[in-house]
């Protein structure tokens, strides 16, 4: 059993963590907006936690707060992501479709370079020796598990509220939504900022888990992986991100016996999933239900 936990504990935690990142992409997608900015905010949140966890000037704060420094890190990351998200969202969300996706990719790239040039973020090496609240990596379930449950509850309520319907109306037909009085830009920014805030908190939780934090946490590849969770899992359902992350995170692990060719197979699965499951895994369930 212990062997099993040692081997798969980290995998399990990673699935929860990546599912949350997938959900941070799903939020703007609820309002029809394809944004890849999440990974930048994930990186931002991680840096906030890494700096708060290691900066010598903050040692008295850490001593005074003990374990409570972690929730404080989450809150600071949440605030920072919300502010930066709104600042980015207002100009960027005038763009539509693929242009928004590209602008958010550009943001992620610029953010990465800027961070590399900030002394406080440790340059290319990044920040290491980030204090860890748990000895066992599986124990991080106590971070990501509740956040995931809360996020799903939030989404469940949101989908059944007026705001959720306004988001969906934009996804269905942005122009018609505007003609029906929906303040399209404001609602898109709202959905976008929610995604940014979630990604920021996930980043803040992830820095201790990974022990080190550097610019490689916020790359284009990582952004694309998150997009793949949502699309493979099913982009019209909040369960999609969870299903997609579960499949795509565990796939390389399941394919481990194949060693070098496993990443090739990973690509094959991605292609096949696009062709044979256009509505994602969640789409398969929906069809059965109907």
């Amino acid at each position: 059993m212990e062997d099993f936990l040692a081997r798969y504990g980290f995998l399990f935690v990673t699935i929860l963590q990546q599912a949350l990142l997938g959900l941070s992409l799903y939020l703007p997608l609820m309002a029809g907006q394809l944004s890849l900015a999440s990974i930048g905010f994930y990186s931002l949140g991680g840096y906030v936690a890494a700096i708060m966890g290691t900066h010598p000037a903050l040692a008295p704060l850490r001593d005074a707060l003990g374990f409570y420094v972690y929730p404080l890190e989450w809150l600071v990351a949440l605030a920072a992501s919300t502010i930066l998200g709104a600042a980015l969202g207002y100009p960027a969300l005038r763009l539509r479709g693929i242009y928004l996706a590209l602008a958010t990719i550009a943001f992620v790239q610029v953010f990465g370079v800027v961070v590399l040039n900030m002394p406080i973020a440790g340059g290319a090496i990044g920040i290491f020796g980030i204090p860890q609240p748990f000895e066992n990596r599986l124990a991080y379930v106590w971070f990501f598990g509740p956040l995931l449950v809360l996020t799903l509850l939030f989404l469940w309520r949101l989908e059944r509220s007026g705001t959720g319907r306004l988001f969906f109306s934009i996804r269905e037909d942005e122009l018609a939504a505007g003609a029906m009085g929906v303040n399209v830009t404001a609602r898109k920014v709202q959905a976008f900022v929610l995604g940014c805030a979630l990604a920021g908190v996930v980043g803040a939780m992830s820095a201790p888990l990974l022990n080190t934090w550097n610019a490689r946490q916020g790359t284009f590849d990582a952004a694309v992986a998150c997009l793949a969770y949502v699309l493979i899992g099913g982009r019209r359902s909040k369960w999609g991100a969870l299903l997609g992350a579960a499949l795509l995170v565990s796939l390389p692990e399941l394919l481990r016996p194949l060693q070098n060719s496993r990443m090739i197979l990973n690509g094959v699965v991605l292609v096949l999933a696009c062709i044979y499951m256009p509505q994602g895994i969640a789409g398969l369930f929906a069809r059965r239900k109907a």
Binding site: L34, A103, N117, F220, R235, S261, N266, L270, I275
Partner: protein
């Protein structure tokens, strides 16, 4: 801020910018025909560089499955470049067959095609890693034969160094751009391409086989991708199977800057970004990687359709 300084940056910017333009053209051609971004384009770029390397040098490195093997022949660089480009064109065709055609036949939406092309990119890149290993490959310094490494020009007080490879980069790119311009202007397929880029609905009206037409586009796109990969590879080395990813992303910035789907836009965008990188003040050189994206971001906010793109009001 001397004249020499200016000319040196101009040389650097134009040579790299012209390669960006060629690479980006491959992207924008596919976009103008299918309305889809082909994320495997960066992988084809990498593949082209590796193929040319193998054909010109005849060896396979040390770590991959093919390690230690040698080809019975070595092609002169120009020939290897051409053969590598043609093979990349075929790879482009394979990408179309694997990632795009099945989705097109099902009428799937563009987002899925994007992820599917990413899947193919993953396959290609890891196949390269599997076969060639993850190490750095550099073209031998004598790959261009006995040409001198650089020409030094005296301009006023200062010096302007024109590396031979920069001349090759610029020359080959220029030839390609001229060839492509001729192709688009005067051949039947080229004219169709222009018509489709103007209005995607016209393809079927032109009485051309859509499938063959798309295949042709992917072939040209792959050819341009592989060729630019080789040119960058000769200039800066092949830093591993992932080295095309960063350039692929940069080319994305190029085509959006110029206007998605616009052929002159891709050329303009490539030159603008090449020059912007070259003219970046030395004390800001650590921000060089951010230049294309910062430019892209600003252009998108000011002129969302890109420099040469057309602004279309949505039809109601």
């Amino acid at each position: 801020m001397s004249l020499a300084w200016f000319l040196q940056n101009l040389v650097n910017g134009l040579s790299i910018g012209s390669v960006y333009a060629v690479f980006a053209l491959g992207y924008t051609l596919v976009f103008s025909v299918l309305g889809i971004l082909n994320f495997a384009h960066g992988a084809v770029f990498t593949l082209g560089a590796y193929l040319t390397y193998v054909l010109a040098v005849g060896e396979f490195g040390l770590n991959g499955l093919l390690a230690g093997m040698t080809l019975p022949f070595k092609l002169p660089f120009a020939l290897a470049l051409l053969a590598g480009a043609l093979l990349s064109g075929l790879a482009g065709v394979a990408v179309e067959h694997l990632a795009f055609r099945p989705l097109r036949k099902r009428g799937a939406d563009a987002l899925l095609a994007l992820v599917s092309s990413l899947g193919v990119a993953l396959i290609l890149v890891n196949l390269i890693q599997y076969l060639f290993g993850a190490e750095i490959y550099s073209f031998p310094s004598d790959v261009l034969g006995t040409l001198p490494p650089a020409v030094i020009l005296h301009v006023g007080e200062g010096l302007v160094a024109m590396r031979t490879i920069q001349v090759v980069l610029f020359g080959v790119s220029l030839l390609l751009l001229i060839g492509l311009a001729w192709f688009i202007q005067f051949t039947k397929q080229g004219k169709a391409l222009r018509a489709v880029a103007e209005n995607p609905d016209t393809a079927s009206l032109l009485g051309i086989s859509v499938d063959a037409f798309i295949l042709g586009t992917f072939f040209i796109s792959g050819l341009l991708g592989g060729l630019s990969g080789t040119l960058i590879g000769v200039s800066f080395g092949l830093s591993g199977p992932y080295f095309g990813v960063a350039y692929g992303l940069k080319a994305l910035a190029v085509i959006v800057l110029g206007g998605l789907g616009s052929i002159p836009g891709a050329v303009l965008g490539g030159l603008v970004i090449g020059l912007a990188e070259a003219f970046l003040p030395p004390d800001m050189s650590s921000f060089k990687e951010a230049v294309p994206y910062a430019l892209l971001f600003i252009v998108l906010l000011v002129r969302p359709q890109g420099l040469l793109g057309k602004n279309a009001e949505e039809k109601v």
